[in-house]
């Protein structure tokens, strides 16, 4: 039998205003197990806590019920108090008579009655409480960053600077992500390469950072502090540690007409290539679908010209398994496909391009060496139309577009329009928009400069149709303010395509048991208070994989994710949550119902031998919960038909006792 002490808090007048605290203390005095019951103005104060410690000593209490505010508020406080008094912290129960009682009731009689019932339920539960001890698990002091865009780069640098080892896994041949493809960046218009490439070099040179480029994560197991990850290094047919990136192979490769993905197919590359001059790692990669040697066994030129002897046509995909304490997802975004937007004639005319293509067209390292020439005939466009929100904020066109705002398009379109007018004042630039959204430091000023100083024409309204006519693009749109139809014969149309998460994000989320929203963006543990943690312990989020973001936001989130990782890796051991599930092996059927519903993948199975009453041995499949992975959500306990699965600290019998106490 427990010896329970009940402590009813007034919370000043917060509780005492609507609940007769004296009456509550009196009523609970007679509950089974209760040997002491009292009330006090502020239980959480030092004096209140001392009261508990003294009462434990004086009345030899084994359990404590505090009738006070939400356990979210002070459960930790009172657990520490109990520990100070020499009790197991899990012998404390909170009856929430503030948020769930005094704050929602006006009438003193009703409020008091409910407070007593809540108190009785807590007493009933403590009667069945048992001391719980959290388990410990060691922490592998290394982090994995998946995705090497600016988000992944920044996170990796911050973690490595704190002294921890970091591996970056990037699926492309080089890190850099979308930012490496951009020309200048809003709102300050510094050149993307000038601010990005030094960071890429830092990554390459950092002794704590390893880059697995042209690699993918293929398997993840384990749990916070103890992940085991298998990384697939795709064959690039070039020995990474030997290649010096001199480019002799690229010069001599005879296969010249492979669409260059870095320039979004607007020019060609060789079968062996280095995506761009500042690539990290600066190592060549052979495209097996284009290489004559790999396709037909004929050629071998690159191998002949490579003085370092780095070419290896027999290279195979390689699997590397490594342990990590924390994983950061930084898989970024992709512009959506424009194929389905027939009305904008993207597939029909080369001169209808996306904004990212526009970035390449204006980039000095791009297909036109930075001269703005239209793709069809390489003539200078005189009239350019920008269309914002293509596929964004589009509730009705779910099969091709996105419901959400892509957030960055207003700003980069203003940037594109302004830069065009700056460099080519003779061009006529029109922007069609639904709204212009510029919340951000110096953002609205930036947009106003485009309209006021640079003479960009902004038309509120959408473009209905674009029809290629001769060498012009006939743009039909509406001007909602002037309330009229607009017709423009443009030379070039730029579509600000909506952005979406990388296609590899969903399978990755499944591997990580991290959650995603309906748009496949990774979900944060709490949208306001835990924005860089995923709900899965040890998995963190950085950059546009969590939602549309510009670079400043991406970088701050990347730093925040790094801080969380550092906080985790700084610990030698992790204390678990003792309120985890476990299955009674004598009752478990091994049916897998629990594993099917466990959102965290905490349940595995093993075959175990049982000695039967008739002395035979039976092998049965039984469920095992990994306490380090289990989050104590309780899904499994309600799914288990036989009641084999139970949750410590919230056992079925404790909950039934509470229900009984309430219904009595």
């Amino acid at each position: 039998m427990q010896r329970i002490g009940v402590f009813v808090c007034w919370c000043g007048s917060n509780i005492a205003g609507t609940v007769d605290v004296k009456q509550v203390a009196k009523a609970l005095e007679n509950e089974p197990g209760v040997v002491y019951s009292t009330d006090y103005q502020y239980m959480c104060s030092q004096a209140g806590q001392d009261m508990i410690v003294n009462a434990v000593k004086e009345h030899r209490l084994t359990g404590i019920v505090v009738c006070s505010c939400s356990p979210r508020m002070h459960e930790q406080t009172f657990r520490k108090t109990a520990a100070k008094a020499g009790l197991n912290p899990y012998m404390v129960e909170i009856a929430n008579i503030r948020e769930q009682c005094s704050w929602v009731h006006k009438d003193m009689i009703v409020g008091t009655e409910k407070a007593i019932i809540l108190g009785k339920a807590a007493v009933a539960k403590v009667n069945l409480n048992a001391p719980l001890t959290p388990g410990e698990s060691p922490v592998t002091k290394r982090a994995l960053v998946i995705g090497g865009g600016i988000a992944g780069i920044q996170t990796a640098l911050d973690i490595a600077d704190a002294g921890f080892e970091v591996d970056i896994v990037e699926k492309k041949p080089t890190i850099g992500g979308k930012m490496a493809q951009l020309d200048k960046t809003f709102p300050t218009l510094d050149c993307a390469a000038c601010i990005l490439t030094p960071k890429m070099v830092d990554v390459a040179q950092h002794e704590k950072i390893r880059v697995f480029s042209f690699s993918e994560v293929s398997e993840v197991s384990g749990f916070v502090g103890n992940f085991e990850v298998t990384i697939k290094k795709k064959a690039r047919y070039v020995k990474e540690d030997i290649c010096t990136g001199c480019g002799a192979c690229v010069d001599k490769c005879p296969v010249k007409k492979v669409p260059n993905e870095f320039n979004l197919g607007m020019d060609n590359r060789k079968a062996i290539y280095i995506p761009f001059a500042q690539a990290v790692p600066k190592v060549a990669t052979i495209d097996p679908n284009a290489c004559n040697m790999l396709k037909a066994g004929k050629c071998g030129v690159c191998s002949k010209v490579c003085t370092a002897g780095a070419i290896d046509y027999t290279q195979k995909d390689e699997l590397v398994t490594e342990k990590y304490g924390a994983i950061v997802v930084a898989t970024g975004f992709e512009p959506i496909s424009m194929e389905k937007f027939d009305e904008y004639a993207y597939s029909q005319s080369k001169d209808v391009i996306t904004s990212l293509e526009f970035e390449r067209l204006t980039n000095a390292a791009g297909p036109t060496q930075g001269k703005l020439l239209r793709p069809s005939d390489l003539k200078h466009p005189e009239k350019i139309v920008f269309v914002q929100c293509v596929g964004s904020r589009c509730a009705s066109c779910a099969e091709k577009g996105k419901e959400y705002c892509s957030k960055i398009c207003c700003m980069y379109t203003a940037k594109h329009a302004m830069l065009t007018r700056d460099k080519y004042p003779d061009t006529d630039v029109t922007v069609f928009y639904i709204d212009v959204r510029t919340p951000g430091k110096n953002f609205d000023e930036f947009y106003r400069r485009a309209t006021e100083d640079y003479g960009v024409k902004y038309i509120k309204g959408m473009v209905g149709k674009i029809v290629p006519e001769g060498d012009k693009l006939h743009v039909q749109g509406s001007d909602l303010i002037a309330n009229e139809q607009v017709h423009i014969d443009a030379d070039l149309v730029v579509l600000a395509a909506a952005i979406e998460p990388d296609k590899s994000a969903r399978p990755l989320a499944t591997m990580l048991t991290a959650s995603m929203d309906t748009n496949d963006f990774f979900t944060e543990a709490h949208p306001k208070l835990r924005p860089v943690e995923s709900p899965t312990a040890g998995v963190f989020l950085s950059g546009a994989c969590q939602g549309p973001k510009d670079i400043p936001e991406t970088v701050s989130q990347a730093g925040a994710a790094a801080a969380k990782v550092i906080g985790l890796l700084a610990k030698d051991k992790l204390l678990g949550n003792p309120c985890v599930a476990s299955s009674d092996e004598n009752m478990c059927n091994g049916c897998s119902s629990c594993a099917n519903v466990c959102p965290y993948g905490a349940i595995t199975y093993e075959d175990k031998e049982f000695r039967m009453p008739d002395r035979t041995i039976q092998v049965r499949r039984i469920a095992k919960v990994n306490p380090a992975v289990c989050q104590g959500c309780g899904c499994c306990t309600v799914t288990c038909p036989s009641g084999a699965m139970d949750l410590r600290g919230f056992t079925n019998s404790q909950i039934m006792a509470e229900v009984d106490a309430i219904c009595k």
């Binding site: 004598n586 009752m587 059927n589 499949r621 039934m656």
Partner: protein, 331 residues
Amino acid sequence: MQKVTREALIEKAASLLANGTVTSVLAWKKGEFDYDITPALFTGEEEMHAELVWNDFCGANLSKYLVAKTKKAEGKILVFLKSCDTYSFNQLLTEHRFDREKVYAVGIPCCGMADIDKVKAISGDGIASIECAEKIKVSTIYSEGAAEMDLNDVLLERCESCKSKKHVAYDELMGEEGEILDSHRFDEVERLEAMTPDERFAFWQEELSKCIRCNACRNVCPACTCEVCVFNNPASGVESKAPVNDFEEKMFHIIRAFHVAGRCTDCGECSRVCPQNIPLHLLNRKFIKDMNECYGEYQAGETVGQRAPLVDYTLDDLEAGEVFERGGDNA
């Protein structure tokens, strides 16, 4: 009459025993009376010639017995499965209740099984012997000669509303394969749904008050294979054999219906074995119908490894509020 003969079954089993494919055979034999045919395990041909039964009274679904038998037996067990039994077979495999490697399943076509109460309604009580041929011939201790009847006139409810003549699992099939049928098995559920809540309460009150808690329904149910059933577990808080009051009886059935929801294949064994003739299948069918309507058509046991709607989450799932609204007065 059944399409495949008893002799064909014995021949098949004997040859599989002889060539070492299996070491025992799970089939049926006569119980106390000619109509209570019960599951039985055979290990030799002699034995089968003497005792194995296959006729219009072999309603018993043998799949559940595999759970216990496969744990004991060395080598493989041959099991004969009617089409409806194959669904339970798959469901048990989904729940990892026995090792598929230890079983050799032979599918047999079924023309439906007889309901002894319907038989008795024609023949009268005191059945002395039953002969199943073209017709079912029943002689009783009270009458000269035998009453004759067509199997189709005395089918079990579950066979009248048979959902599938197709076998969804087997290693070998005897006779011809059937098809999935349009069974109208929810008609009766719809009739219950159309009642007012009071009428429906009265209906179940009436039916469930007949329960004597013999536990036959649970014991025969292929979904109820728990190592320790909650009703046997002193720690569960619902353990009891005889109910204290009629409320407890209802709780037994409601708890059990929830436990088997999404796992019940609608094999109809519960209603077949209930000595009090309680239409237990209606409770489970209501769950099945609701799940079909809320989460899309789902047949437990159709394949191995299915995710039952109640332990699966898809983005199209109804929200709790919607379920409540749909239920409305009919809930």
